[in-house]
Amino acid sequence: MEATATRAEAAARVLNGAGIIAAIKASGIEYILSVPDIVTSAGLLAPIAKDKDLRLIRVCKEDECIGIATGLAYSGKRALTLIQHTGFLDSINAIRGVAVEYKQPICMMIGLLQHDPEKAPRQSPRYGVRIVEPILDDMGIAHHLLSVDTDIAQIKPAIDKAYAESHPVALLIGRSPKQS
């Protein structure tokens, strides 16, 4: 009985990359704009790079994604920016100016580097992780934490809403997605 409970608990603590990618596609995303992030490298970026339904644009620096995604949005195309939280922090001015002040549907999937998935990001001992959600709150950017498979259901409604209402959204990856 105890072993069964342990297995169930372990299963609940999994975030499957394939499920996230399926949700990304179901959200109408055609372009993935990315700088590699070690949190999502194996479980998301590597399979996305091989996926024929998604076009991966590898960029040199994360703020480029904000401009590219905006140009795509003006063209009626959906894009997802896949970056690490350090890249998010580096791109704050672009997100402020373009995504927030010009009200653009910039959808960001952000890996929380060195985050302990059993803790809330705001409780992280890592300063860089701890400040991400408060910054998003201050900027008025909606955000959702994805740590287990049941959280994947948040992806499509969040992206659809961002495009319907033309505002940015952040999907925080709190656990390294499992490779399929």
Binding site: R55, D63, I66, I68, G71, N93
Partner: protein, 187 residues
């Protein structure tokens, strides 16, 4: 040495249904020469104009995109040269107005005025690169530059201009963004 507004007047004679992406001093001069709904000016700061241009080019491969970037802007987003070259949009023509200054921020010099942007673009992998210092040569070749398969890059060596009036409210008018979107998405 050429003047930016002279170059843009010549360019305007060749621009038809392309999206024209411009910021700061380039945007002011371009709008003066060619006010049109397919001007895309709401770009934010820090050199993102080239990245917006890439997004527009990828999103509408059936249409052409012209980026008018300043040298200070491109220096803030040099990586975009590599990103654009790798993404290889055939429909993107990328100009940089090289006047050696951060003109919109007080006319201070860029860190190294001798920087060779066309050489950088070439080594990044642009399909074709140009370097114009002579207005007559620019006028002779501009038609060919715009029609070539991209990504194409061209440096325009220009003088710093007279002090400009930066009317950001007009440049960044949300109504203009809306008009651009509707026209750009139209088939």
């Amino acid at each position: 040495m050429m003047k930016r507004d002279q170059c843009f007047r010549i360019l305007a004679r060749h621009v038809t249904d392309q999206a024209v992406v411009a910021t700061y001093s380039s945007a002011v001069d371009w709008v003066e020469v060619s006010p049109r709904p397919l001007n895309y000016l709401s770009i934010g700061a820090m050199g993102l104009d080239s990245s917006h241009g890439l997004g527009l080019a990828l999103g509408r491969p059936d249409k052409r995109v012209v980026v008018l970037q300043g040298d200070g802007s491109l220096l803030m987003n040099l990586g975009s040269l590599v990103t654009i070259a790798a993404a290889a949009p055939k429909n993107l023509v990328h100009f940089v107005a090289h006047n050696d200054t951060y003109e919109a921020n007080g006319g201070h010099p860029i860190p190294n005025p001798k920087v060779d942007f066309a050489a950088m673009a070439k080594s990044a992998g642009y399909k074709a690169t140009y370097d114009f210092s002579d207005l007559r040569m620019f006028e002779q070749q501009i038609g060919h530059v715009l029609e070539q398969q991209g990504p194409v890059f061209a440096t325009l060596h220009v003088e710093p201009s007279k002090p400009l009036k930066y009317d950001y409210e007009s440049l960044y008018d949300p109504a203009k963004r809306k008009a651009f979107r509707e026209l750009w998405q139209a088939r």
